[in-house]
Subunit: 416 residues, 2 copies
């Protein structure tokens, strides 16, 4: 048995034990994990220093180092995050539906833990505590495989969390960290059928693609968002400008930020020049189709190429295309969208109805910024990611999306 | 572009068009498909004759030929099946939940079509019409890839269904049959990311394993059921006997039939001899552990080997093991079960509670036969299979399990 299979077996056993653990015990364990993390702040920061030193020596860029860095405040934030997950409603045990059949059988569909969840992530050490807390609250054991850049930090955080579990009388193997950060361990997790019930990659497009292509265990794809704002002919000009600027420039590095503006040819001549000015004021560069560029004489725009329509910039860049109809906009979105968040700005009722019905994405907006696609904004509490696939979970994934269901059937001797 | 990619593209286009089709139109199309199938009965039976002739020449066994064979009555049954699916409630458009956020955004979680569903199946031609009708009712286009043994029958059925779609004014490519039944087309379907949103294998364990191991598109595993009946010390003797006999012998070839009897050592001396006699009367052979065999002197039982505990016989064979506790029974099920249907027969309240909470399976029964795990029995109407995985759907899969969800967000200019 390989080391990974041994971890899988321990996780399986921990998951079985969790089935007999009450919500009160889980909450006590989450509190103990938060306290333990606070107590271990010094050790966590020392470990993080070693990661940072190594990253600097390896020439990591500053923005990446900032993602990797922990401070006293950030560790306190991680502990607060665990406590806010503790405060959420326990999803396990919810009776989703039920009925008594003609033959007297009582059938209930009940929410139950997933079992063992695997998370493969990159350089943010706070994912270690967030994911562990969400999985525990959802009743599952977790195997965490973070990036090599953060291994010292992750190890210190995981040790603190496991000490908390133990102090609360739960099995510490409920949370396990893969300490070997070679490619082989990630590849092994993707094939751990029978040990891992759900694998979630959290990170860039390359990581996600690799997991989707190679995993034989069930996977949920998260995150890639090539999001569009379509400004219809009837759009309110001020509203359109506010939404486009917000969706692009309020936080360009996140998946619910807009990447392409589609604007109706009837609205473009009046709307595009002031909109371009507002965007450029926020530092946004524009990649324009020929018709859009022609409406912006004297404005330094770049020509959009085919690849621009398919690019998730995650940066202060916006692709702009003039279209002649709602249909053309929806065709563009069907072709280039990633099924994350799509928006129409319109005052036309029928167009709003058609767009919401016909555009195939996790979240479809009328007259609001795509930036609202977020578990917190949608009122789910913490999220483990935003699913862009159609199976099991779509859109922000909260605690419920980390569970599965079971039919419980109570009888009195019924046979068929 | 390969032939399979072309089919994928046609299916994608048909799926987009389906988003604008009303429930009334879908129902009219289902009625037209049923009528067309009835009208084409002659052509379908002729095609089926050619399949049967070829199968006989290839030496196919009689029970397989019976699965393959269509008769006038069976074709009428397929048409009736389409009409019963037509009569089910349309799952598309259901608002599952919704709320108005503080900022005035109205968020609704709405059930929407999956898009394109692929089905890979073996020698039963009735799957062609069942799967096509279920997918259409759920708003999705379907790509059907049946076994080579049934290709002539499947082609004739698919032609009839497509003629019905066309007569009702829907895109015939809503239902497509893969006519090339080589291994390559099945393998290609498993990798059609971007074209196929959900792939469901329907068939034996070998087919399912191959799909799970090779698919990069999302898959739902169906069907393998190594189901257990645990007869607790406190079980009512008559009830235990009725349930075990029913679960094993009422229809051994189906996935919800029992394969192993676990019996408490305190109950076994009194219960096992009459139970063995009742089972043998139904033609069931017993594969017993040493302790069970010792309780059945003079009864011709076979010794159970390790492999028996893991075998889905789908036959008149039952493995029997004596255990000393509820825990030992649950350990056995955790080790060998496939997460399909598991039953405890008991009069002990706490044991019933623990078994239903701690056993990890799609359906967990107290005092009722495992044979009830079925979409029809559970009141879902027709089912496309029984999922034994935890993601998306678990247990009988009806129309709702063939859909996904979308968040629709209506605003009035909200930005974040």
């Amino acid at each position: 048995m390989t080391a990974m299979e041994q971890m899988g077996q321990k996780a399986r056993q921990a998951a079985r034990e969790l089935n007999a653990v009450s919500g009160t015990q889980k909450n006590a364990a989450l509190e103990a994990m938060a306290s333990s993390l606070e107590e271990q702040t010094g050790a966590v920061l020392e470990a993080n220093d070693r990661d940072i030193t190594r990253a600097r020596a390896a020439g990591m860029i500053d923005s990446m180092i900032d993602r990797l860095r922990l401070t006293k405040e950030r560790v306190a934030g991680m502990a607060a995050g665990i406590r806010s997950i503790r405060a959420l409603t326990d999803p396990v045990g919810e009776v989703m539906e039920g009925r008594r059949l003609e033959n007297g059988l009582e059938v209930r569909k009940v929410r139950v833990p997933m079992g063992v969840i695997g998370i493969i992530y990159e350089a943010r050490p706070n994912v270690t505590s967030d994911a562990a807390a969400l999985c525990l609250k959802a009743g599952s054991a977790v195997i965490l495989r973070g990036g090599k850049e953060a291994i010292e930090s992750n190890r210190a955080v995981a040790q603190a969390l496991r000490a908390g579990l133990e102090a609360a009388g739960l099995q510490p193997d409920t949370v396990q960290l893969v300490e070997d950060t070679s490619r082989e361990t990630a590849a092994a997790m993707m094939k751990m059928n029978g040990y891992i019930d759900l694998l979630i990659p959290r990170g860039g497009a390359g990581l996600i693609r690799s997991v989707v292509e190679n995993a034989t265990v069930p996977v949920i794809q998260t995150g890639v968002g090539n999001c569009h704002i379509y400004v219809d002919e009837s759009a309110d000009a001020d509203m359109a400008q506010a939404i486009v600027v917000n969706a692009k420039a309020s936080r360009p590095s996140v998946c619910n930020a807009a990447e392409t503006l589609l604007i109706h040819s009837g609205a473009a001549p009046a709307l595009l020049p002031p909109l371009a000015a507002a965007l450029r004021e926020k530092g946004v560069r524009l990649r324009c189709c020929g018709r859009a560029a022609a409406l912006l004489p004297g404005v330094p725009v770049e020509p959009a190429e085919e690849a621009d329509w398919a690019t998730e910039y995650l940066d202060y860049i916006l692709a702009v295309r003039v279209v002649d109809s709602l249909e053309e906009a929806m065709d563009h979105i069907a072709r280039y969208g990633t099924g994350h968040s799509e928006c129409i700005v319109t005052e036309n009722y029928e167009h709003a109805q058609r767009f919401t019905r016909e555009v195939d994405a996790a979240a479809v907006y009328v007259n609001a910024s795509t930036r609202f696609t977020d578990g917190g904004e949608f009122g789910m509490g913490a999220e483990i990611g935003i699913s862009t696939q159609k199976l099991h979970a779509r859109g922000p994934m909260g605690l419920r999306e980390l569970t599965t269901v079971k039919y419980i059937v109570n009888g009195s001797g019924q046979i068929r």
